[in-house]
C-alpha cells in the first residue's frame, strides 16, 4: 500500500466536482485504503463555492482535511484554488483549470475578478499545474467532461496505478458516458505531463 493522501477539490456548483471525488475515493478503496470524503449540499450549490475533501490512509477518522495538510488542491475554476490556499500543505501541488466563472455580484459591488491569479500564485512560489481542461473537454465533444480531464491531470500525484484508475472509472461513471470520460481522463494525463 502506498502512502495516504489528502485531496481537496474546489470550484463552483455544477462543475462535476462530486463525481470526480467519488472516483478518487473508489480508487483508494480499490487499493485497500480506508477512505473518507466530505462535502456540503444545499444552498451552497446554487452558484456558490463548492468543495469536496477526500482523505485516504490506513485508518481515517476525520472526513475533513485540516488546514495546511492538503497534498493536492484541484481547482475546477481559475481563481478558486486561491480561496482554499490555507488548506494546502507547504510544498503541496495545485492543479487548476483556466475557466473563469465570474460571480454576478461583483458588478453590484464594483469589484474586479482577479484575472491575474495564476501569475500571482506562481510569484508566491506555489507549485501550480495549469490545465486548459474545459477547452480539452470541449474538443472531445462535451464541455462537461472537464472534471475527468482534471482528474487525469492529477492522476500521477495520487499514487494509484493506471489499472486502479480505470477500474474506479468503470465503477463510478455511468456507462453511457464512460467512453468519453475515459478519453477525457487520458487527455488530462497527457496535458499534465506536457505542462
Amino acid at each position: 500500500m502506498s502512502e495516504g493522501k489528502n485531496v481537496l477539490l474546489v470550484g463552483v456548483g455544477g462543475q462535476g466536482i462530486l463525481l470526480a471525488s467519488e472516483v478518487i475515493s473508489q480508487a483508494a478503496m480499490n487499493d485497500g485504503f480506508d477512505v473518507k470524503k466530505s462535502e456540503i449540499h444545499g444552498m451552497a450549490q446554487r452558484g456558490g463555492v463548492v468543495s469536496s475533501h477526500v482523505r485516504y490512509a490506513e485508518r481515517v477518522y476525520s472526513p475533513l482535511i485540516m488546514k495546511g495538510t492538503a497534498d493536492v488542491l484541484v481547482s475546477f475554476e481559475k481563481a478558486e484554488a486561491y480561496r482554499w490556499l490555507e488548506y494546502l500543505k507547504p510544498g503541496g501541488m495545485i492543479v487548476t483549470n483556466t475557466t473563469e466563472i465570474i460571480p454576478p455580484v461583483l458588478n453590484v459591488l464594483g469589484k474586479e475578478y482577479p484575472h491575474d491569479i495564476l501569475d500571482r500564485m506562481k510569484k508566491q512560489g506555489l507549485k501550480v499545474v495549469v490545465v486548459d481542461a474545459s477547452d480539452a473537454a470541449e474538443k472531445l465533444g462535451n464541455p462537461r467532461a472537464m472534471n475527468m480531464v482534471l482528474l487525469g491531470a492529477i492522476s500521477d500525484l495520487l499514487g494509484f496505478t493506471a489499472e486502479t484508475w480505470h477500474s474506479a472509472l468503470n465503477m463510478r461513471v455511468p456507462k453511457k458516458h464512460l467512453d468519453l470520460n475515459l478519453k477525457a481522463f487520458e487527455e488530462g494525463r497527457k496535458l499534465a505531463k506536457a505542462s
Binding site: H41, M43, R46, S62, M66, L85, P90, I102
Partner: protein
C-alpha cells in the same frame, strides 16, 4: 462482506432497511434529505414525502401503533414542527419500534439557526444516539430500533451536517424481517386523556431510570484508552468532534459517547479515575458539560472550544494549543501538538465573494425584478427564492421559518392597518413550502381579512433540497403517478377570490398581474408557474442561448440588475472611448429570454442556430 461507500444519510437508509423497517417518512430538509432519497430504492419499505414534519411523525406514529417498525427523518428545525406529536409519543411509547433522525447543522450551511437538538431529547425524556461516521450511522440506526422496543420509547438519532454528508466505508448486512405485530388496541396507552397521561408520566419516569442504567452498559459508550503521557488527558467526545479529535490529538484517552441521553454517569466516573484531567468536546451548546458540572465532575469544555459554528480540525487544534499555553490543560511545552502549527499559506489581496445565487434562467428572478418597481414589504420564506434577498435583486424584508411568509404578512398588515405607516404587503413562498405550512396561514388571512398578496412561486418541485416530489406534482416519492393537488383550486377553496396563474417567463404579463394584485383591496394569490430551470435543463428541449449585440448595447446595465450569473460586463473601446457593455456567457445561458424582454434597446436576441 460487501463494502459500500456511503454518506451518513445513505448509511442510515441502509440501516433502517436492515432493521426491518416497514414505514419511513420525511419532509425534505438539508442536511437530512438524502435519507429518504436512498430509502426509496429499498422496495420492502413503504416510504413517502410527507406534507410536513409533523405529518411525517404522525404517519410513522400510526405505523408504530399498527406494530410496524417505523422511521421519520427531518432537519433540526423540522423537529420543531414535529414536536407536538413527538413529545406525546414519549408518553405513549411505541408498539413497533420508532426512530427519528434530527439532522442538526452546526455552521448553518443551509439553515436559519444552529439549535442544538440534543436538548430536545432530554426535554422529551427519550434516548439520544449520535454517530460519528457512516459505519456508526448504520449500526446505530439498527440498534435504535432495539432500544426503542426494549424500553418502549421513541429514539432520537442525531446527526450533524458532516456526519450526514460525509462518506465512509460501511459493511453491508442483510435485512432482518420484523413481522408487523398488528394494531395495539390499548386505549390506556394510546388515548392520552389526562387520566391516562398521568399514569404514563409515571411510566416514562421509570423508563428514564432504566435508561440511565442502560447508558452505562450500552456498547455505544466506551473507553478508548490513550498512550504515553497524553493518556492522562481524558476527552469525553461524541459525534463528529470525536473523529476530528482522534486525528488531531490521537494519543489522549477518550470516552467515546454514542448514547448521550441519559448520560452514563457511572462510566464517566470510572473514566475520570483513569485520567488527570477531564475535557468535554462537543459542538454547539455545553449539553454534556452542564450535566457533568451539575453532577459534581470537574470538567472543562466551553472554556476551551467554541460554542458557535463547527469545531473544525484546525479550530480544534488551535483551541487545544491555546488552552495548553494558558495552562488550562497540562500539555508540556515540548509536545508535538505545538509544532503541529498548521503551517498555512495565506492568500493575499483576494476578495472574490461568491454567494449562492438564483440559477441562470431561474423562474423566480422575474417576480423579484418586478417587485422592485413597487417596493412593497416582502415577507419571504424558506427555499431557493430566499436568494431574492441578495443584491442586485435585494427584494426581501423577512424570512423566519417554513410558512411564515404568509402569516408574517398577515401580522404586518394588521400591525400597520389604520396607521399612517401603511405599506402594501407581499408574501413570496414556494409551492412545496406553501403545502408544508403556507396554506394554514392563507386560511388565516382570508378568515381574518388581511389584505395581502401571496406569490406562490410554483416551479413544480422542492428545488432547494435537490428536486423532491410533492403533492402538487402528481408524482410519488418513487416517481409513480399520484393524485395531483391543484394549487389554484386549493387557494380558491379557502376563500381567496383573486387567484391568478401567470408564466414568469412572460415578464409583461407577470408585471401587470403583480401591479394589479398589490393594489387589490382583498387577499390575493398569484401563482407564478414555470418548471425549475434545473428540471428544464435535465428533461427539456435543447437550450438555445441569447447573445448581446454589442453595437446596440448602450451599457445601461438594466440586464445586470437581474443578477443572472450568465450576464457579465466587458470593457470595449468605441471610437477610442472606453465603454462598459453587457455580454452573455453562452454556456451558462439557459435561454429564458428575461434579459431580452427588459432590454430597452433590443440589444439581446436569441442566437441563430449555426448550421
Amino acid at each position: 462482506m460487501e463494502k459500500l461507500f456511503l454518506s451518513g444519510n445513505e448509511a442510515i437508509a441502509r440501516g433502517i432497511w436492515e432493521a426491518g423497517v416497514h414505514v419511513a417518512t420525511a419532509y425534505p430538509g438539508t442536511p437530512s434529505t438524502e435519507i429518504l432519497e436512498a430509502v426509496r430504492f429499498y422496495k420492502e419499505i413503504y416510504c413517502e414525502w410527507s406534507s410536513n414534519e409533523k405529518v411525517a411523525v404522525e404517519v410513522a406514529q400510526g405505523a408504530s401503533m399498527a406494530g410496524a417498525r417505523s422511521f421519520a427523518a427531518m432537519k433540526h428545525v423540522g423537529v420543531n414542527v414535529a414536536m407536538d406529536p413527538l413529545s406525546t409519543f414519549s408518553y405513549t411509547g411505541v408498539n413497533g419500534g420508532f426512530v427519528f433522525v434530527s439532522a442538526d447543522e452546526p455552521g448553518m450551511h443551509s439553515s436559519q439557526n444552529e439549535q442544538d437538538n440534543r436538548y430536545l431529547a432530554k426535554f422529551m425524556l427519550i434516548p439520544l444516539i449520535e454517530p460519528a461516521d457512516s459505519a456508526e450511522a448504520k449500526a446505530m440506526a439498527i440498534m435504535g430500533f432495539d432500544i426503542s422496543e426494549m424500553f418502549c420509547t421513541p429514539v432520537m438519532l442525531r446527526t450533524t451536517t458532516r456526519v450526514s454528508h460525509s462518506k465512509g466505508i460501511v459493511e453491508a448486512g442483510e435485512r432482518k424481517e420484523h413481522d408487523v405485530k398488528g394494531f395495539e388496541h390499548d386505549w390506556t396507552k394510546w388515548v392520552v386523556i389526562p387520566a391516562n397521561a398521568r399514569k404514563r408520566r409515571t411510566v416514562i419516569l421509570n423508563r428514564l431510570k432504566q435508561l440511565e442504567e442502560y447508558s452505562n452498559e450500552c456498547p455505544l459508550n466506551y473507553i478508548d484508552p490513550g498512550s504515553g503521557s497524553d493518556a492522562k488527558i481524558g476527552i469525553i467526545a461524541s459525534s463528529i468532534a470525536y473523529a476530528y479529535a482522534k486525528d488531531v490529538f490521537p494519543d489522549a484517552s477518550y470516552l467515546k459517547l454514542g448514547f448521550t441521553n441519559p448520560l452514563p454517569f457511572k462510566l464517566i466516573a470510572e473514566f475520570a479515575k483513569t485520567v488527570d484531567q477531564l475535557i468535554v468536546l462537543e459542538e454547539l451548546e455545553p449539553f454534556m458539560q452542564e450535566q457533568l458540572l451539575a453532577a459534581g465532575f470537574k470538567v472543562l469544555g466551553k472554556e476551551i472550544f467554541p460554542r458557535e459554528g463547527e469545531i473544525l480540525p484546525e479550530i480544534l487544534l488551535d483551541s487545544l494549543k491555546k488552552a495548553a499555553k494558558s495552562s488550562l490543560i497540562a500539555i508540556p511545552a515540548d509536545h508535538p501538538i505545538h509544532k503541529a502549527e498548521a503551517e498555512v499559506i495565506k492568500p493575499t489581496d483576494f476578495d472574490l465573494p461568491r454567494p449562492p445565487t438564483l440559477c441562470p434562467g431561474c423562474p423566480h428572478r422575474a417576480s423579484y425584478y418586478s417587485l422592485r418597481k413597487y417596493k412593497p414589504i416582502v415577507t419571504g420564506d424558506i427555499g431557493c427564492y430566499t436568494l431574492g434577498v441578495l443584491p442586485p435583486l435585494s427584494m426581501m424584508d423577512t424570512c423566519i421559518c417554513m410558512g411564515a411568509s404568509v402569516t408574517n404578512a398577515v401580522g404586518a398588515f394588521k400591525g400597520l392597518h389604520g396607521t399612517d405607516k401603511v405599506e402594501p404587503v407581499v408574501a413570496t413562498i414556494g409551492d412545496s413550502t406553501f403545502i408544508h405550512s403556507g396554506i394554514t396561514g392563507l386560511v388565516d388571512a382570508v378568515y381574518n381579512q388581511a389584505n395581502l398578496t401571496v406569490i406562490i412561486m410554483d416551479n413544480g418541485t422542492t428545488a432547494m433540497t435537490g428536486g423532491q416530489q410533492h403533492p402538487a406534482m402528481g408524482k410519488s416519492i418513487r416517481n409513480e403517478p399520484a393524485p395531483k393537488l391543484i394549487l389554484e383550486d386549493l387557494c380558491r377553496s379557502v376563500g381567496v377570490r383573486r387567484v391568478t396563474v401567470v408564466d414568469p417567463y412572460d415578464f409583461e404579463a407577470l408585471d401587470k398581474v403583480i401591479a394589479e394584485e398589490i393594489k387589490a383591496d382583498e387577499p390575493s394569490v398569484i401563482i407564478t408557474r414555470r418548471e425549475c430551470v434545473l428540471d428544464r435543463l435535465r428533461f427539456g428541449p435543447k437550450v438555445v442561448p441569447y447573445i448581446v449585440d454589442q453595437d446596440k448595447c448602450v451599457g445601461c446595465k438594466k440586464c445586470i440588475g437581474l443578477g443572472c450569473p450568465a450576464i457579465v460586463t466587458v470593457d470595449v473601446t468605441v471610437n477610442g472611448k472606453k465603454k462598459v457593455k453587457s455580454k452573455i456567457v453562452e454556456f451558462l445561458c439557459t435561454g429564458c429570454s428575461l434579459c431580452a424582454q427588459i432590454c430597452p434597446v433590443s440589444a439581446i436576441s436569441i442566437k441563430e442556430e449555426s448550421k
